[in-house]
């Protein structure tokens, strides 16, 4: 048998010395006599190409059964013969098998794109299947965080006026949740909607408003968020994003607070504005107050650099004002509340005629409406 075999080098994994063996290329594997041992067969599918020498085609082989032993084929023709018998060895090099990783990348990109584009559908499904009580629970928690220690205003006349305004705006309009509208005693010019039908107006907004129609516009806007379940959408976005980051293996806990400040998308804001206008129209309330509000917001914000406006998730005030002013003619209108009701609403926190020195342009205030 030895006369027929190919002379190869053998390294037994015990010493660095090369031993000479004679290898036969059988149908199913390489057969040779281990120096000082018996006859062994390295089947082709157990072979691993460790190195292929460019100039002379010599190759080093490993064997799956014993990770330390190596065989060296020092003969180009024998190497080519081996490639024919064990074609998988050809791809056994880092620079080979390019198609596979390229296809894997393509598949990953395709999956990510699918997730990205189908996400809104998933999100809608989640929103629809979540029990209202859960949404209210989440809303309570979030509202509590935003309000902090500030108290709800409870002047009975004021509460009646608020209820009157709400009833007028939502008359004949189906809301997904039972509404819970509150005024919080804090000098902030802001309002927000939380998941589950909660709407919070801050006292500063009432103090600053120059007419009841301005308040009606802002309330209509927040009711628009409620109607389209925007707050829940936003919460799911935030949790979904955190889930994604966590599943990628990183600890990104620190980002959550930053994300909590992330606002609605501009589309959501436009949708809420549209809803507000339609609520105002159906209630025969003029939209001019709402437009006036943005006109003044524009002045207050004009000192903000353009970059900030660009980064802001809200449409620009001037753009919003323009949209409102260009609305259809709504016919005859009456003020959202009569004078005494408006007076009562302003005093809901028991502090008549209090005026803010100036708007506090801090953090998320104002811009969040």
């Amino acid at each position: 048998m030895n006369e027929l075999g190919i002379q190869c080098g053998y390294f037994d994994g015990q010493s660095a010395a090369e031993q000479s063996i004679s290898v036969e290329f059988m149908m199913d594997g390489l057969v040779f006599q281990v120096p000082g041992g018996g006859l062994v067969s390295w089947s082709y599918d157990q072979l691993r190409l460790i190195s292929l020498q460019r100039n002379n085609g010599h190759m080093t082989l490993g064997w799956a059964e014993d990770d330390a032993v190596r065989m060296r084929i020092k003969n180009r023709e024998a190497g080519e013969q081996l490639f024919r018998l064990a074609p998988h060895l050809k791809a056994d090099r880092p620079e080979k098998g390019v198609m596979k990783p390229v296809m894997v990348s393509g598949a990953i990109v395709a999956i990510l794109a699918m997730i990205y584009f189908s996400y809104p559908v998933f999100r809608q499904a989640i929103i629809m299947s979540l029990p209202d009580s859960w949404a209210q629970e989440i809303g309570n928690t979030l509202a509590q965080v935003s309000i902090g220690k500030a108290a709800s205003c409870t002047d009975p006349q004021g509460l009646i006026a608020l209820q009157t305004l709400t009833d007028r705006l939502t008359k004949g309009v189906a809301m997904p949740y039972e509404l819970d509208i509150r005024v919080i005693d804090a000098p902030i010019v802001n309002a927000f909607a939380a998941p589950g039908g909660q709407v919070v107006l801050f006292r500063g907004l009432l103090d600053e408003a120059q007419s009841i129609d301005e308040v009606a516009g802002v309330l209509g806007h927040e009711l628009g968020h409620v109607k389209h379940r925007h707050p829940l959408k936003r919460v799911i976005d935030i949790y979904g994003f955190e889930l994604l980051l966590t599943s990628l293996g990183g600890n990104f806990g620190g980002y959550s607070s930053m994300l909590l400040m992330m606002s609605y998308s501009r589309d959501d804001e436009r949708e809420a504005d549209e809803t507000s206008l339609s609520l105002l129209k159906d209630a025969h309330i003029s939209g001019d107050g709402y437009a006036d509000f943005f006109e003044r917001l524009e002045e207050k914000q004009s000192f903000l650099p353009d970059v900030m406006n660009f980064l802001s998730t809200h449409p620009l005030p001037e753009e919003r004002e323009q949209t409102i002013r260009e609305r259809d003619d709504v016919g005859p209108t009456t003020p959202a509340l009569n004078k005494s009701e408006w007076h009562a609403l302003r005093n809901i926190c028991g502090s008549a005629g209090r005026k803010l020195d100036d708007w506090d342009l801090q953090d998320e205030e104002i811009i969040n409406i």
């Binding site: 010493s15 660095a16 460019r54 100039n55 020092k74 090099r93 990783p101 390229v102």
Partner: protein, 350 residues
């Protein structure tokens, strides 16, 4: 069935010494695939990508025709990184944030103390990271199925590293040849190939002359600067640029001397090594590589690696041959995970 081949088995000559037959073109394919997969996995693939690059480079580096082999895996590198991230990086970030808070509270003394300690920790971790990276790479390197290894500990290496640095500071840098050689002595003296151990003769005096030229230039530059300041004159400013050029020249001159000296004093089982390397050749290598990387925005990275490998192999000569019969398998314990710490410091791009 092998009868056709029997007349072909006359042995073709093997190249002697150390050779490298990798190609930039092939390595570029590996590199490109790495970039692609790294992007779509948000950077996670880089550990596996690094492994493939090493597999390529190792398997084309040969001694006596037999290729080296890299047996590390991407998973080991990844786990090493995860461990270091949670055990070292995250706590350090925590302390950093704490210092920021203290700074806001105006507690300056505490900030200085903690900040100083933080730098000290970083400083001690750096040499440990280097040592561990070497240990991992060597333990994953095979030649003829025989494993390399690195004994010794990262702590001792770090202690020497820092001690020698202090010595350099005290001696205004004059101890540099001594400390350089001594640090290499510890590192090289702990390298094993199977049962065979490398060692380094710690002579350092021959390095003194090239070092003094480099050092002298720096001192001259410094004196020039001080003199100009004291005299309030700009008339000697024209000397500044030539002196800087001289410093750069002597830096490469000295670096080449260090390589020549250190490699020339390595011993392994009766084998000696030498590198025939001149300062300007070293400069040429770095200069061209730098240009390649800058003007191709890093795309030329694979060719840069191949250039470095070819350069080293071209300059390196092995004198004599060990008794391979006597070199048996390495029985040292292997590290389980790879290089997390070095990854954290961004040491070694391949």
């Amino acid at each position: 069935m092998s009868t056709v081949l029997q007349e072909l088995d006359a042995e073709q000559p093997e190249p002697d010494g150390v050779t490298f037959d990798g190609q930039g073109r092939e390595l570029f394919v590996v590199y490109l695939v790495n970039i692609l997969l790294t992007i779509v996995t948000f950077g996670l693939y880089r550990f596996w990508g690094k492994t493939r690059i090493r597999q390529y480079v190792w398997s084309h580096l040969r001694y006596k025709g037999d290729a080296f082999e890299y047996t590390g895996t991407g998973l080991e590198l990844f786990l090493g990184f995860v461990i270091v991230f949670f055990a070292v990086i995250l706590p350090l970030i925590g302390v950093g944030i704490w210092v920021q808070l203290l700074l806001q509270q105006g507690d300056i003394t505490l900030v200085i103390v903690i900040g100083g300690l933080l730098y000290l920790v970083f400083f001690c971790l750096f040499p440990i990271a280097i040592f561990r990276a070497y240990r991992y790479r060597l333990s994953r390197t095979l030649w003829r199925g025989i494993r390399f290894g690195l004994t010794g500990t990262g702590r001792v290496y770090a202690a020497k590293f820092i001690g020698y640095l202090l010595l350099q500071i005290i001696t205004l840098g004059l101890a540099s040849p001594y400390t350089t050689v001594k640090l290499y002595e510890y590192l090289v003296g702990n390298v094993w190939m199977g049962s065979g151990r490398f060692s380094l003769d710690p002579s350092w005096k021959p390095l003194m002359r090239p070092f003094l030229m480099f050092w002298g230039c720096i001192v001259f530059y410094f004196v020039l600067f001080v003199a100009a300041q004291v005299a309030g004159t700009t008339s000697i400013n024209f000397l500044a640029f030539p002196t800087m050029i001289a410093i750069a020249c002597f830096y490469f001159y000295y670096s080449a001397a260090v390589y020549r000296h250190v490699v020339g004093n390595i011993m392994f089982e009766g084998v000696r090594f030498s590198v025939d390397l001149k300062g300007r050749e070293l400069f040429g290598l770095f200069f061209v590589n730098g240009l390649l990387l800058v003007f191709t925005l890093g795309i030329a990275f694979p060719w840069v690696i191949v250039r470095i490998m070819n350069f080293m192999v071209d300059k390196l000569a092995v004198h004599g041959e060990p008794d391979f019969e006597k070199i048996s398998q390495n029985t040292e314990e292997m590290p389980t995970y790879g290089e997390g710490l070095a990854e954290a410091f961004d040491i070694g791009s391949i």
